[in-house]
Symmetry: C2
Subunit: 315 residues, 2 copies
């Protein structure tokens, strides 16, 4: 089923069929009707391949994330898809998770989209730069700027400081930061924010998921901390299930499980993160904007019970 068959059925040229389908050029009402009828009868769907080739665009953009098992990226992707679809673009996803060929897969993906979003822990800056160099617009989520691509992040330092102050208010002195600041700018900023208030903060390395948090329990205990600030909710949850709540703990993100676990955490607008990224990307693709944007979304401290009995009233 091609445009030729439709043209033949409607007794017009393929040019005319194309015109009524795109609707940008005037076509006589009668002809248009005949074409539309033919399209309907033949259940014709234009080929994206042919169209894309002629228009030199894909009408699709991608997003690269490390994993989708935690709630964080699921929300980000959801927000992204939601806006992209609304903007009429298909969305391609790529999980870099542990794949040694991530870089190649990314370059491969870049060749079939009009724009690309990269999350943290997916590929290095060099790869991002390479993609950007091909002219493909790029937006970075929660990672430092590279070249002059757009970035969108959430506020970390201030809320981390606020969280630290809250813990200090509890009377805690010796506190551990559980997470790997070197592998995520988000974590690095949170660590800095905390250290601003608690200079003696003790960093303990850790992965990003529940299991990592669970397995870090031993290392954490060794520090005999009054409280533990975890890099994210999953790690906090994992640690909690290992310590059975014997140590005050805080997380970050406010995922669904956090509420049920009574986890004190910092809520960040994950869905909005993806949504804004999609918008920024679109502005670049359509050329509506030239200068790079670096947006920062607000976050909010959510105090629950995991940080211990509250010495004073707070929200």
């Amino acid at each position: 089923m091609t445009i030729y068959e439709v043209a033949e059925r409607a007794s017009v040229s393929i040019a005319t069929v194309s015109r009524v389908l795109r609707g940008n050029v005037p076509v006589s009402p009668g002809t248009a009707a005949r074409v539309r009828a033919a399209v309907a009868e033949l259940r014709y769907r234009p080929s994206h391949l042919g169209r894309g080739l002629a228009e030199r665009q894909h009408a699709a953009n991608g997003i690269v994330f490390p994993d989708l098992s935690g709630p964080y990226y699921a929300e980000v992707v959801l927000g992204y898809e939601s806006v992209a679809a609304e903007l009429g673009r298909s969305v391609l996803i790529l999980s870099s998770h542990g794949r040694p060929t991530a870089r190649d897969m990314v370059m491969e993906l870049a060749a079939r989209v009009d724009g690309l979003v990269f999350c943290t822990r997916t590929v290095d800056d060099e790869t991002v730069r390479e993609v950007a160099a091909t002219g493909t617009p790029v937006v970075l989520i929660a990672r430092p700027p590279v070249a002059d691509v757009d970035t969108i992040t959430t506020e970390n330092r201030d809320s981390a400081a606020l969280l630290a102050e809250h813990l200090l208010g509890h009377g805690y002195r010796r506190v551990v930061f559980l997470g790997d600041a070197d592998r995520s700018s988000d974590f690095a900023e949170r660590f800095e924010g905390v250290r601003q208030i608690i200079p003696a903060i003790v960093p303990v390395a850790c992965g990003f998921d529940e299991n990592s948090g669970f397995r870090a329990a031993e290392a954490v205990r060794r520090q005999r901390p009054d409280a533990v600030i975890c890099c994210n909710d999953e790690v906090a949850l994992g640690l909690t299930s290992a310590t059975a709540g014997s140590v005050p703990v805080t997380g970050w993100d406010d995922v669904m499980a956090a509420r049920y676990a009574g986890l004190t955490t910092v809520r960040q607008p994950m869905r909005e993160l993806g949504a804004r990224a999609a918008r920024l990307l679109d502005e670049r693709i359509t050329g509506a904007r030239g200068e790079p944007h670096h947006d920062v979304l607000p976050t909010r401290l959510i105090v629950r019970s995991s940080c211990g009995p509250h010495p004073k009233e707070e929200t």
Copy 2:
């Protein structure tokens, strides 16, 4: 950057460039080397559009799900992406969530992939049939067969019966099934499985997410049930937070939060669901298989504390 420029740089024809890139036809070592050098120097990436048009395939397939906010679909998509990528195909996602134009978006998507997976609550069977009629291979996840497309589901009836028996063992007599069996074959099967053991089961309509569960609390209380079997974990969790655990509750799926909430539930291999779907689809796309498959994955009852104090030992 096209194949022509590479050809010129290597002083060969585009046909030769194509040959060394695809590697299916013999090319003299010397020529191949020159071409490869040119490709590297020019940082050439073949256009997927051009290639796809010539090969009449997209090297991509899609998956349509209702939403991504809950853990269920995130896991399914993760499993799907994982296998699809491994098979060398890009993956396009489409969330039908509440969009009135879902059907059009699906037909649109179908036109740019080699195969498509549909989850429940996305589009009706008619649309599925229409896509299948275009010759695009289709796989259905957790929904009844349509035409002769492949399907992959998880076991519901038996585990539901098992769950019901467990509740009976607790001494509960009056039990409510919270969920809308009409809108999901999974839910319908679970309801049937329960009813097989508890004929007097009382159905109470409800949505699919936490909020729905929360808001259903009133309607549930009115039934003064000894226990409530929820259609999934999210609803169970929502209900729990509204009833503060005053009523024994069970869920389904075993999402992360279920563990922290001590929710008795039935675990199903969500990731595997997506992974198998990707494999089934690939078999159809490559034509490796002709007859339709209808796979059923096993599930497992997970007893925790939400169903009340245990009268006898169980796992």
